[in-house]
């Protein structure tokens, strides 16, 4: 009896030779029938669940677009809410297939952390919020302030850089969870709340008295926020990247959720290639030829996603970096051809 168990255990141990757990993400995803997508627990405009646990936000819609491209079903995605501290470990360990969680694209993350960024869904920058009655008008007056920050973010590093270069003291109060940061700031634990300015705008409405707080004019960093995947799986990376580009291509040629069926009959070769009427672009990324058609049909183009999620939290697209390149912004995609 004993011997049998030992033999089985030994056999199992030898059978499990060193093997990478996630060689082919697309195969794994198709086999299980859905994408596991890591998102913010609650950042209005980017990812937040309603009372029925229906997720919405620009980061959420990106994952839905991937699901539409692979399964022709925007609901074939499951969301894992992650704190900023947990997110990279969750991606590396294979717990999630794609990380779409207001994550800043930096060199160290793109290289040393073993992940690859597919694109920039939102160009952001770090700002500061203070209570109006402090009488502060500029970030340069913040010397000696207590600053509420979320742990494990570029925000934490930028704040350290900013205060050091300005020769100012500050007292960082660091929490693991964005909700706790907001709560502590609202309770008066800190004088200042700092994070990406889009999140500041969104979180301001969750404070007890939004009108008694203001966002300072200084933007102290570049925060290109985008989805990322594990390094070392080029096929999956290509899908992640071209799903993002297809959203911009569709906007450029005026393909929307409403007119996508009409557009199938378009004479414009760029539209025909995008929607899979011409060429075999789907097969280049291991998907069916109507992959981009499915994305636009189910989720819409970049402009529609922005309009639906980010405009309601009060961040105008016009004149910002996030405008389409044809409108003076820097949201630009290489051509599909």
């Amino acid at each position: 009896m004993n011997k049998k168990i030992v033999t089985i255990a030994l056999g199992a141990a030898l059978g499990l030779t060193a093997s990478a757990a996630y060689a082919d993400t697309l195969d794994d995803v198709q086999e299980k029938g859905y994408i596991q997508c890591g998102v913010s627990p609650s950042t209005p405009g980017f990812a937040s669940p309603d009372e029925n646990n229906n997720w919405s936000g620009i980061d959420v819609d990106y994952c839905r677009a991937m699901a539409a491209a692979i399964f022709d079903d925007p609901e074939a995605v499951r969301f894992t809410p992650l704190t900023s501290k947990e997110r990279f470990t969750a991606l590396s360990s294979g717990e999630i297939d794609v990380l779409s969680r207001t994550t800043t694209w930096t060199m160290s993350r793109d290289t040393n952390l073993g992940i690859s960024f597919a694109g920039v869904m939102f160009y952001d920058g770090q700002g500061f919020m203070v209570p109006k009655d402090l009488g502060v008008n500029s970030a340069t007056e913040l010397s000696g302030a207590a600053v509420c920050i979320e742990a494990g973010t570029t925000t934490e590093l930028n704040a350290a850089d900013y205060f050091a270069t300005k020769g100012m003291d500050y007292n960082p109060v660091v929490f693991e969870d964005q909700d706790e940061v907001v709560k502590a700031y609202d309770d008066g634990r800190c004088d200042v709340f700092t994070t990406d300015s889009s999140a500041l705008a969104a979180e301001r409405f969750s404070l007890a008295d939004p009108d008694s707080h203001k966002i300072l004019p200084e933007i102290i960093s570049k925060e290109p926020l985008g989805p990322s995947v594990r390094q070392g799986d080029d096929e999956w990376f290509n899908i992640a990247r071209w799903v993002y580009f297809s959203l911009l291509e569709a906007e450029e040629y005026g393909v929307t959720q409403a007119n996508v069926d009409e557009m199938l009959g378009s004479e414009n070769p760029s539209v025909r290639r995008l929607l899979g009427v011409e060429g075999e672009f789907g097969s280049y990324i291991g998907l069916s030829n109507d992959w981009a058609y499915n994305i636009i049909k189910h989720v819409g183009n970049y402009g529609e996603i922005y309009e639906r999620n980010v405009t309601p939290i009060g961040i105008a697209r016009e004149g910002s970096l996030n405008a389409h390149w044809t409108q003076g912004g820097i949201q630009y995609s290489p051509p599909i051809r």
Binding site: A20, S92, S143, A145, A151, G152, R189
Partner: protein
């Protein structure tokens, strides 16, 4: 014929080897060892292979690179230019600070509550019972949130700070502000005097015990010791001209500057840990005292021992033997529970090192390994000290 007999004998010795209990026990142990080593080897290989597949570097070199973030509360000088190794030290010291303070306070509170529960005063005994039953049966994390958010909310803001002891101590929702004593050089002599009195007190106690044992005459040890502890350092103070240059907290634009600042995260964590662990220690103390049979007390009474001697010489020494082993595990629990600091933002080792440093450096395996090694070391050290103490007070069998 002879050959086949030899074969038979060989087979018999082989089968008898299989049925030999000693051989079997060795064989299975060796087999188990091989399986365990193989399993460990496979885990290490698999980890390295997976990290390499993701282009991640491994090793402890990252400890020398700049951390780049700030820490709100540190016992040693720390800035954004410090290294990850400094973050590690800051985390260890912050954990030790809350663990050691917590153990001392929880022991004191626990003994008081435990004895109170046995009190003949009905109200005191009931209050102690309610305290123990309520605190023991609520999750610690919940209690920490209570102390942090509920208590923080009720604190005044910086401008309306509570002023305690005439402008030297302030309390507000940013923490507790105490004056910081800056001793001059001559103050060293006062410290030396205190140490000398403490050492002297130790020998005085031994001498007084021996005197009681030999002659039966009592020496008023405690009053004499306290008297010496006050008189000798005070005399030294005046003779050497020692002085404390006290640095008081002062309000500036955002907050108080100067003085000693205890952040509310520390205070809330300490409160939560002490109050929670004290409830368990109280039960241990009660169990220890109850375990001393009433026959012992009665025997001491019939020998004519005074109340205090009966407690000090008969009941407590016997109760301690029951108290110390479970007390050790409460100390270990308190130290390990201090890692819940991460929930309320106190920069302990889990928060700053396993949290932020791991995230910014991406060295998950190395960082978690180091953090586990720290807790293991703390726990084993606590166990060693408590086992040594336990052996000292154990029943000496003759």
């Amino acid at each position: 014929m002879a050959k086949s007999q030899e074969q038979l004998q060989q087979r018999r010795s082989l089968s008898s080897l299989i049925y030999d209990p000693q051989f079997r026990s060795y064989a299975f142990q060796i087999l188990l060892l091989v399986v365990l080593v193989g399993f460990g080897w496979w885990i290490v290989q698999n980890t390295i292979a997976n990290l390499q597949a993701q282009n991640k570097t491994t090793g402890f070199d990252f400890l020398d690179s700049t951390a780049g973030f700030d820490i709100g509360f540190s016992l040693i000088p720390y800035s954004r230019a410090s290294t990850y190794l400094d973050v590690f030290y800051v985390g260890i010291l912050n954990t030790l600070l809350v663990a050691i303070t917590g153990i001392v306070l929880a022991t004191m509170l626990g003994f008081v509550i435990g004895i109170a529960r046995l009190s003949s005063n009905w109200i005191i005994a009931r209050l102690a019972t309610i305290y123990i039953e309520v605190i023991r049966n609520l999750p610690l994390l919940l209690q920490l949130f209570f102390w942090y958010f509920a208590v923080l909310k009720s604190m005044p803001s910086v401008r309306d700070s509570l002023e305690i002891i005439g402008g030297s101590v302030y309390l507000n929702n940013r923490g507790l502000y105490l004056p910081d004593p800056n001793p001059n050089d001559a103050f060293m002599w006062v410290q030396i005097a205190v140490v000398l009195v403490l050492i002297g007190g130790f020998f005085l106690q031994r001498w007084s015990i021996r005197r009681v044992e030999e002659t039966g005459q009592r020496f008023p040890y405690i009053p004499v010791f306290i008297g010496l502890l006050i008189v000798v350092p005070t005399l030294t103070w005046f003779v050497t001209g020692a002085a404390l240059d006290v640095n008081y907290p002062e309000l500036n634009r955002f907050n108080f500057q100067g003085g000693i600042q205890l952040p509310p995260e520390f205070v809330a964590l300490l409160f939560g840990l002490v109050i929670y662990t004290a409830a368990f220690i109280a039960e241990i103390v009660r169990a220890g005292i109850v375990s001393v049979s009433s026959g012992q007390t009665e025997a001491a009474q019939s020998l004519g021992l005074k109340d205090r001697d009966r407690l000090n010489l008969v009941v407590i020494p016997q109760a301690m033997r029951v108290i110390v082993p479970p007390l050790t595990s409460q100390y270990l629990n308190l130290t390990k529970n201090s890692s819940l600091a991460v929930a309320i933002g106190y920069p302990d080792i889990v928060n700053v090192f396993m949290g932020t440093a791991l995230n910014q450096s991406g060295k998950a395996v190395e960082v978690i390994f180091m953090t586990m090694a720290v807790y293991l070391t703390f726990s084993l050290l606590t166990s060693i000290i408590m086992n040594w103490y336990n052996a000292r007070i154990a029943l000496t069998e003759r």
